[in-house]
Amino acid sequence: MAGSDVILGIVVATALAFDFTNGFHDTANVVATTISTRALPPRVAVTLAAILNFVGAFLSLAVAATIAKDIVDQDLVTTTVVFAGLVGAIVWNLVTWYFGLPSSSSHALIGGVVGSMLVAHGVHAVHFDGLAGKVLVPALIAPILAFSVAGIAILVCYRVVGRLAPGPVNRGFRFGQVLSGQMLALAHGTNDAQKTMGVITLALIANGNLGKDASVPTWVVVSAATAIALGTYIGGWRIIKTMGSRIIKMDPAQGFAAQGAGAATILAATHFGYPLSTTHVISGGVMGAGAAKRLSAVRWGVAGNIVVAWVLTLPCAAFVGGLVYAVTRVFGGGAAGPVVVAVAGVALLVYVFARRVQRGTAIAPTAEGTRA
């Protein structure tokens, strides 16, 4: 087996690992409000979301939005650059998951690739205007827009159903949450599984296994769909706890307003080719639904931590991506560097997992969302 094939194998495995973290990290945002208002039991909510993420991955196979398009010079992207970027994204996803902070996996991936490109080729390989237009501005717009939409939506909802008996109203909004939550999960599957497919296809093309105009192989579609669905099924319980109960204590109407406004915002933006982060939209929606009822209902300290995590996502993932690329270069330009980093990463994960097993599971699903 040639050295390039070894790197390709590592990139494919790392991309699927990133897809798995994307599943449990980002889809947690989608199911959190559904779980916290008891619209669905936790395990049912994540299972449905997993199925819809899997289905969503098959709905649209356009790989136009390959990684970091218009943000880095695509001709300079190598399999090692992609590998380092993926490691940067995975590390940031795991760090933010550990602290229960919802952050964008897509921004982490872009950050990782930008960092490894900076180290590999210098500043000329990064299109900073694309970075501002496609990442920074949407990151600012998404939460503010969702905050406003959800805030107005919840006020309207309360106005329309205000004098009705709370029992049937809550049952109605819980049903609405099931619908809007499943729409969000489907949208997430069509968006995020695509990115992994794009990464693997790009690596296959770069390695000469596929022609430049080749379509996505079926095994890539199935493996990416499976990885994101499995990650979703595992459930990012720490993030679910933050989104579902730590920002605001929400009622079913607020949950519906946050999710419904979130789904409408994401799909409206997608319709106009302006991709917004699911994480940013739902977080903004939850804060908006809480603040519209009462400003003090929002735990602004928790909200502030989430915003800090968003701000840090790009530079931190870029730092790790750049560092990983530099480490791989210490071992030369062949497969040795990626192999060493991959083995070290897996060994570290096994060590951390073994420590957690020794201590016992700290986070588990319950009817209220999670138990710490």
């Binding site: 329309v160 159903v161 619908l179 799909l267």
Partner: protein, 82 residues
């Protein structure tokens, strides 16, 4: 950065469309679904004593439901066509 530079980076027209449609769709779906709930609950309350009012509320619920179904259809078609 000059205002012209900022305009180059951000497509202001596209952004305005996103904000407009997100506001209309997000708030519209919430109103429609709230009307479904209101219509169903009120129709049930008036079912025996005031059948005409119950029918009017049921129609309101159906109208709201049609808007919600249309919104779901728009969402799915958007996902399929991107």
């Amino acid at each position: 950065m000059s205002p012209l530079g900022a305009t180059k980076i951000v497509d202001i027209g596209q952004l305005a469309q996103v904000i407009e449609v997100a506001l209309v769709a997000g708030i519209g779906v919430s109103i429609a679904f709230s009307l479904v709930i209101r219509g169903v609950v009120r129709a049930d309350e008036h079912r025996r004593g005031r059948p005409a009012l119950a029918t009017a509320h049921a129609l309101l619920a159906v109208a709201g439901l049609l808007v919600v179904v249309a919104a779901i259809g728009f969402g799915v078609s958007t996902m399929l066509s991107k």
